[in-house]
């Protein structure tokens, strides 16, 4: 069946064409071009050099997504089960950091995690390093060779990058899960209890499967920006934890100027993400329909 476009849809369609479709077409064209404008597959062949960046990007994004899920689900669940007053307060607390600029948020984590940053200063002030050095000295086979520490290495590690991702994207996990759970029909939970299910079973057999659509969109909304981030890895990864976003940015703006390679990398990343999402949505389809009802 063909629907005729209503007049109101026209501006939207033009908008989509200019800002969504056109860039994608340009990206595809660039990805298959040499600098002279000839057709080539060479850009994809060149990508092999950066396999480690691909690997790191996906690894860190997956870890960040899992951590967001582990934190986000219980928080969403508790929020949905508490009274409306608690829900309002919790919502404000979750949204509050998002009213601050993204870069600002990330910079502030930098100053917290730095070698002489707030956290290390705090550890020093409570004498943690002295304690560790004392123990280390005593345990060491040769105390002469023991190198005392005066800070933890936090900035520039993968942990710092993951922390930055979790901090920035956690709300995107919480909100969709929360909104699904809060809409769950309470009579379904009563029915399960009535049939003999204890709280654990009610959760496993009813709440969890019915909240899966929220989990799926939460996972998507955390994973996609995480895998393509560049600012977080640059600022908190200290330049040592290069990710796909950084790599692409370098091709367009940085010293390694090669927009054709950049476009090819973007294209591959996009395809991988789309495939991942499609597979996940396929698994969640049954539940999604169920909740539509």
């Amino acid at each position: 069946m063909k629907n005729k476009l209503s007049g109101l849809a026209v501006p939207y369609v033009i908008w989509m064409a200019i800002f969504v479709v056109a860039p994608i077409i340009m990206m595809v064209v660039y990805a298959f071009s040499t600098s002279n404008g000839n057709f080539t597959f060479g850009n994809f062949a060149d990508m092999g050099l950066y396999a480690s960046v691909f690997g790191r990007s996906f690894k860190l994004a997956i870890i960040a997504t899992i951590i967001c899920l582990l934190i986000g689900y219980p928080v969403s669940y508790m929020m949905a089960k508490e009274g409306p007053r608690f829900q309002k307060v919790a919502m404000v607390i979750i949204m509050l950091p998002m009213w601050m600029n993204f870069l600002l948020r990330t910079y502030s984590w930098m100053s917290i995690l730095e070698n002489n940053g707030l956290l290390n200063q705090f550890f020093a002030s409570i004498g943690l390093f002295d304690l560790i050095n004392n123990i280390g000295m005593r345990m060491a086979a040769n105390p002469e060779l023991y190198v005392p520490i005066d800070h933890f290495n936090m900035i520039g590690t993968q942990g710092a990058v993951v922390l930055g991702m979790v901090y920035n994207y956690l709300p995107f996990m919480i909100l969709p899960i929360y909104s699904v759970i809060v809409k769950l029909d309470n009579s379904l939970l009563e029915a399960a209890r009535d049939l003999g299910a204890n709280n654990m079973r009610v959760f496993r057999k009813v709440i969890l499967p019915l909240s899966l659509p929220g989990v799926l969109s939460g996972v998507t909304m955390v994973f996609v920006p995480s895998v393509s981030t560049f600012a977080i890895s640059r600022l908190l990864g200290g330049g040592t934890q290069m990710m796909l976003g950084d790599l692409i940015e370098q091709q367009f703006l940085g010293g390694a100027y090669d927009p054709y390679l950049g476009a090819a990398i973007s294209l591959v990343m996009m395809v991988i993400v789309v495939v991942c999402m499609a597979v996940m949505n396929h698994f969640g389809e049954g539940e999604e329909q169920a909740v539509m009802l």
């Binding site: 379904l188 209890r193 003999g196 329909q289």
Partner: protein, 389 residues
């Protein structure tokens, strides 16, 4: 029969000062079919929720086999519920919905967890689907079922667990007349065959009378009457019950002495006693009990103001000097014709005055030509006020 299983003792429920249930006292016998009957909002679902364990009464006790179970959570009660809004699991198909309770491990006497083997689960589910007439539907998704089919899945899902007590909250509400009648018979048969106590909620008085051993009539969070269907119909306790169960003409009367009541300025013999001399009472006369005779032979004489064909009988509205009565008769009496009626002592039923007096049992609004009531009670024809004895 007749061993007491559940008792609600002085149970009251209030939500933010609004009293929903007001000092309920009911007992439910083992293997009994008991129906809670009442208009929408009278507290039927609330009563079921207390028995099911979803609501703790504000005051009063719930006893199961003599043990107080106020604080026992729903999943530990030997009770299953067919919910008013079905509450089927949308993520499971028909089979899995019905199997839900069976898949939950039960603790046996030795405290060991026992699981029902898969083969037995399949057998019991299929058997139950056959009972509710849904064979072949087991793979269907819940969303693809009609309201009536969903309702039957809900019945199967509760029954398959063979509970001691089954709570049914208007389980046939979404069914058409035919299926409703079939399912009524089917439920009654299941209840007797499986020897389960049914606590059934409905606002359909016909259904209540047809199926129940005991009927509890409720209104405004209070019990109005408890009794067998015959008791409730023949001996309604007050004007509310008389009106809610079937059709009733309800009149003001005065009890002169035992077995003698006066209404329409004339004395009638009746079968009731035990009232104070000259006590004002409500008089109930069922429309189907009234005998129509020739005008000159009647104790009362009136004019037919409207006739409606109802299939088996005619609903005939008769004006007795401004009071309009409903008379159900298989004979046709044309609009405008004058008829006489005879009331035998067992057609007249006397009730004590209650808060409901004067609210029900008047058929004036049945007719287009609405007469002013009031003058009729004063002016009476000579021959009508004449005592026949």
């Amino acid at each position: 029969m007749s061993k007491e299983l559940i008792r609600l003792k002085n149970v009251s429920v209030a939500f933010e000062d609004a009293v929903i249930l007001d000092n309920l006292n009911i007992y439910f016998n083992d293997k009994e079919f008991l129906t809670l009957l009442g208009p929408s909002g009278c507290g039927k679902t609330t009563t079921l929720r207390i028995i099911g364990g979803f609501l703790t009464p504000t005051s009063g006790d719930v006893l199961f086999d003599g043990v107080r179970i106020n604080d026992v959570p729903p999943h530990k009660r030997q009770v299953n519920t067919v919910f008013q809004k079905y509450a089927l699991f949308p993520h499971l198909n028909v089979f899995e919905n019905v199997a839900f309770g069976l898949r939950i491990p039960k603790t046996d006497e030795n405290g060991k967890k026992v699981k029902i083997p898969e083969k037995e689960i399949t057998e019991r589910v299929m058997e139950m689907l056959e009972v509710v007439n849904l064979k072949g539907f087991e793979k269907r998704s819940i969303t693809s079922l009609s309201g009536g089919q969903q309702q039957r899945v809900a019945i199967a899902r509760a029954l398959v667990n063979r509970p001691k007590v089954l709570l049914l909250d208007e389980p046939l509400g979404a069914l058409d007349m035919r299926l409703r009648k079939d399912m009524q018979n089917e439920l009654k048969r299941i209840q007797q065959a499986m020897e389960i106590t049914f606590i059934y909620v409905t606002h359909d008085q016909e259904e209540a009378l047809a199926m129940s051993d005991t009927v509890v009539v409720m209104d405004g969070g209070k019990i109005q009457q408890i009794g067998t269907p015959e008791d409730i119909y023949n001996e309604p306790k007050n004007a509310f019950v008389a009106d809610f169960i079937g059709e009733s003409n309800i009149l003001d009367g005065i009890m002169h002495e035992d077995y003698v009541v006066e209404f329409f300025n004339r004395k009638f013999k009746c079968l009731d006693k035990g009232f104070a001399p000259m006590e004002p009472v409500d008089v109930v006369i069922r429309p189907e009990d009234i005998d129509i005779v020739a005008p000159e032979k009647g104790q009362l004489r009136g004019t037919v103001t409207s006739v409606t064909f109802k299939g088996v009988h005619y609903d005939t509205i008769v004006d007795f000097k401004g009071y309009k009565w409903l008379i159900q008769t298989t004979d046709y009496h044309a609009e405008g014709s004058v008829i006489g009626i005879i009331l035998n002592p067992d057609d007249i039923h006397i009730m004590k005055k209650s808060e409901y007096s004067g609210m029900f049992g008047d058929y004036s609004s049945y007719s287009e030509e609405y007469d002013e009531i009031g003058d009729a009670s004063v002016e009476l024809d000579e021959e009508e006020s004449e005592d026949e004895e």
